[in-house]
């Protein structure tokens, strides 16, 4: 039996009424490290990557609903000509915040949720390299998201579109504080992303289980690493841009003042040098999830694993060289346009490799169409549509007709919803039993899947048509004068898209219902290995113990778990796999050889305090410099408290020694 050093859950009470001199180990209540392992405090101060992963997921899901409501309002406004649901001002805030919320507060953190939960499990580690930084990252994201959304109540949200082109973002053109909230909010979540990136890179590079070489790493972990490198190098670029925006708005700097000779294209370059890698940051984790799921349900290893890894890395790498394809219409000059056009086409190759390899993984397989598998196949189909419409505007002249129209809106929703979000849903269904020990209902899951797929195609499919008919994006109204007639008139398809958005919303609602129903009291516990899975995270209980593995597994193969369950009884070129063990038996075998004396890092107050200082400083910059000062002091104190605190609590903070557990009030 493993001995886990965690502070005791028991409250220390005096064993007798004999007055004793207080002893140091039990004397004071203040700034003693938090010890709770249950209750709300155990979540607030936790540094356990699994709890943090779940919290990332819950908060991201909340923002998904917020962003979804924003989207529904947008579609309501556009359902008919001259819509009156929203004013122009509110509409502009709505689409800006819809994009910002979905990109920064839903897809990225949801991917972070999976990365947090599963990367340590997939590489056979007990936690991430820096558990407290991990906690800080979550809280910074959480507070940053709340900070961003409080702008709705403090004079209006940002209204410049999610790429906030200068000079439209200057005070003169956007006089409310919305853009300030937006810039500072993104700085805060950016800090979260940056710390998360460093943490996960170090974790994967340094903390893999014995025997797990890089080319034996699960593909999801691989994609996460690529994403973290993208974040590591993309975040500072947007940080610079946001600082310049802040200096421009708050301190009258001239970075984007045309009268001072500034070039507004500088913002576009900086934004897209960040923004294009951001696209891959959004979509690669889902590619990883899909690449995990397809082999499991096809009973075959991933086709061309090294190629999928390298194409993921290549996408990450080439992704840096194509930012200006967002700017084909902004007057770069023909040479740059031609060069970026060709570079953009080049990035289609590694992306195509992924689609082909996924298809080839299923080819010749023994496929079970469970809900996760349905979603994974959904990703292949829907993302292919998005990818191919992407090829049509890598052709720069064609792009000048399509950019900033609904055709682009359709394209990136097929990529982001069809690629990233469907992949995340695949992940929900696939990993739910691992995370919570309960299966999500397959029947409701299929309702969820088909409603989502039909909804998304009804919503985003017509946008291709509307865009090619010439409707620009970001318009709070459209007029019948420009809508045309006949089957492909803009009006009809706008209405279809609006109806589709509600079908989509229904699909998401089905998911929430499924979650609630599956977690009612009395539902059966999920089997340990419900999918006959292949990777390390399944070689432990569901949900995993606090220390993840009783024994750190030694890895001999890619798909280690599969090879522990199945044995090749063929000879020579002839392979014949037979099951030799069930998942339960493999796990039981691990438990039987549990390691003793496992040290886990202890919970801490400092991460949440440090994260709390960030939005305080944000409000300070916007409203009152005294608040900024207060926030800075809190940050400084938290940093030092953190720096002076050992990662694992001292011995005196573990189980109190018997007989000396008397606490005495302090009187000053």
């Amino acid at each position: 039996m493993a001995i886990i050093e965690r502070p005791s859950e028991e409250v220390a009470l005096a064993p007798s009424s004999v007055p004793e001199v207080a002893t140091p180990s039990t004397s004071y209540g203040i700034f003693r490290r938090p010890v709770e392992t249950t209750g709300w405090k155990s979540w607030l101060f936790t540094i356990d990557h699994k709890k943090l992963g779940i919290m990332y997921g819950v908060v991201a899901m909340f923002f998904f609903i917020v962003g979804g409501i924003e989207a529904l309002l947008i579609r309501l406004q556009l359902a008919g000509p001259n819509g009156t649901v929203l004013s122009a001002d509110k509409y502009n805030q709505m689409f800006t915040m819809h994009a910002t919320t979905m990109v920064f507060l839903f897809v990225m953190p949801m991917a972070a949720a999976f990365a947090n939960y599963f990367v340590p499990l997939q590489i056979g580690a007990r936690d991430v390299a820096f558990p407290r930084i991990n906690a800080f990252g979550f809280w910074a994201f959480c507070f940053g998201g709340i900070f961003l959304n409080t702008s709705w109540f403090l004079g209006g949200a940002a209204d410049g579109g999610w790429f906030m082109y200068a000079p439209n973002s200057s005070v003169a053109f956007s006089p409310s504080n919305g853009v300030d909230f937006w810039g500072l909010g993104l700085q805060i979540t950016g800090i979260a992303s940056l710390t998360g990136a460093i943490n996960l890179i170090v974790t994967v590079i340094n903390m893999r289980a014995p025997g797990m070489s890089l080319m034996k790493m699960p593909i999801f972990t691989w994609m996460v690493v690529v994403v973290q490198f993208l974040l590591l190098f993309a975040m500072p670029v947007i940080t610079v841009a946001l600082f310049m925006l802040m200096f421009q708005r708050s301190f009258d700097a001239t970075f984007f003042s045309v009268e001072a000779g500034a070039d507004p294209l500088l913002w576009q370059h900086l934004f897209w040098i960040f923004g294009h890698p951001e696209v891959y940051i959004i979509v690669l984790p889902s590619f990883g999830i899909v690449s995990e799921i397809l082999p499991v349900f096809s009973k075959k290893p991933l086709f061309g694993y090294p190629l999928v890894v390298f194409s993921g890395a290549a996408i990450g790498f080439v992704g840096w060289g194509v930012w200006a394809h967002h700017m084909f219409a902004s007057g770069l000059g023909p040479i740059s346009v031609a060069a970026f056009s060709v570079a953009t086409m080049a990035i289609a190759i590694p992306t195509g490799v992924k689609i082909v390899n996924w298809t080839m993984t299923m080819w010749g397989g023994k496929i079970k169409f469970t809900v996760p598998m349905l979603y994974a196949v959904g990703v292949i189909v829907q993302f292919t549509i998005g990818g191919l419409s992407g090829v049509t505007h890598s052709v720069a002249p064609s792009d000048t007709q399509q950019t900033d129209t609904y055709y682009i809106v359709a394209h990136f929703h097929y990529v982001i919803f069809g690629g990233a979000v469907l992949g995340l849903f695949a992940g929900f269904y696939y990993w739910w039993p691992k995370m919570f020990g309960k299966m999500l209902s397959e029947r409701l899951g299929r309702w969820n899947f088909w409603l989502t797929i039909i909804g998304m195609n009804l919503t985003f499919g017509p946008m291709h048509v509307v865009g090619l008919q010439g409707q620009p994006r970001r318009m709070y109204v459209w007029t019948e004068n420009r809508a045309g007639e006949g089957f492909f008139n803009i009006g009809f398809w706008n209405l279809v898209a609006s109806i589709g958005s509600f079908v989509l919303a229904l699909g998401v609602l089905t998911f929430l219902i499924n979650v609630v129903i599956s977690h009612r009291k009395g539902t059966a516990k999920a089997p340990l290995d419900p999918w006959d899975a292949r990777s390390l995270e399944w070689i432990t209980t569901s949900p995993p113990k606090e220390h993840n593995f009783d024994r750190i597994p030694t890895v001999g193969h890619l798909d280690e778990f599969f090879h522990r369950k199945y044995e090749d009884r063929g000879s020579g070129d002839h392979h014949e796999f037979h099951q030799v063990a069930t998942g339960e038996e493999v796990v039981a075998n691990e438990e039987a050889h549990a390691e003793s004396h496992i040290h886990l890092p202890s919970p801490s107050y400092w991460p949440i305090l440090l994260a709390l200082s960030l939005p305080i400083m944000g409000y300070g910059i916007i409203f009152n410099l005294f608040l900024l000062f207060g926030g800075a002091v809190l940050a400084l104190v938290s940093l030092y408290g953190w720096g002076l605190e050992p990662h694992t609590a001292g011995d005196d903070e573990f189980d109190p020694p018997t007989g000396a557990a008397l606490e005495v009030a302090a009187h000053g």
């Binding site: 710390t195 460093i198 590591l232 301190f251 009258d252 700097a253 001239t254 900086l270 940093l639």
Partner: protein, 204 residues
């Protein structure tokens, strides 16, 4: 954020966990952080390079620079890298006393550099170059200001480290903590050399 956190959050070295690469987690994280910082300064330097000529009727770089002065302050900062090396080597010899001495000297030299920057900014301002005067001045002050903030944060960390060594409060491996501070400090120096060359020495 990470730089302060990194040194403290050592992952359970005392439990004898070995890492896949043999590098300590902290050191790897510091390298990653510095890699990220490169892009931060890259963005700032690019902005400056784009805007250095944008000052039409206003003051330009060649009119305000005082190259001999900036050279001497750059030299002081470079010397602080030398003393940082001495501090690291003292720490490696477990010589707490000299570690503290050299860390203090490094911090002092760094503070002198920052003082030089404050002087320089003040005199530029007196000469008529304010933060909002022109694109050139905005991007110049932003770039060198960011660097100055990095140096100042470094000095505060160095001084705190001296205090922590005196009070025996260092969390984790003391040698490694000093070395990590050294990495950060050298990075800040190298960035300055880049800035000094690109901003001051190469004529606009």
């Amino acid at each position: 954020m990470a730089d302060t956190a990194v040194h403290s959050d050592a992952h359970i070295e005392h439990a004898g966990h070995h890492t896949s690469t043999g590098l300590s987690n902290n050191k790897l994280a510091m390298w990653m952080f510095l890699g990220s910082e490169c892009l931060l300064f890259g963005g700032l330097i690019s902005t400056y390079m784009l805007y250095r000529g944008r000052h039409s009727a206003n003051l330009g770089p060649d009119q305000v620079w005082d190259i001999p002065f900036t050279s001497s302050s750059s030299f002081v900062l470079l010397m602080s890298s030398l003393t940082m090396v001495l501090a690291v080597s003292s720490a490696n010899r477990d010589d707490d006393r000299n570690t503290k001495v050299w860390l203090s000297v490094t911090a002092l030299l760094g503070a002198l550099f920052v003082a030089g920057q404050v002087y320089e900014f003040t005199s530029f301002y007196r000469e008529g170059l304010g933060f909002t005067t022109s694109l050139f001045s905005s991007s110049f002050y932003t770039l060198t200001g960011f660097h100055g903030v990095h140096v100042s944060v470094g000095i505060i960390m160095l001084m705190s480290l001296v205090g922590m060594i005196s009070k025996n409060k260092v969390v984790g491996d003391k040698k490694e903590v000093v070395e990590l501070f050294g990495l950060y400090w050298h990075f800040v120096d190298v960035v300055w050399i880049l800035i000094f060359t690109l901003v001051y020495l190469i004529p606009a």
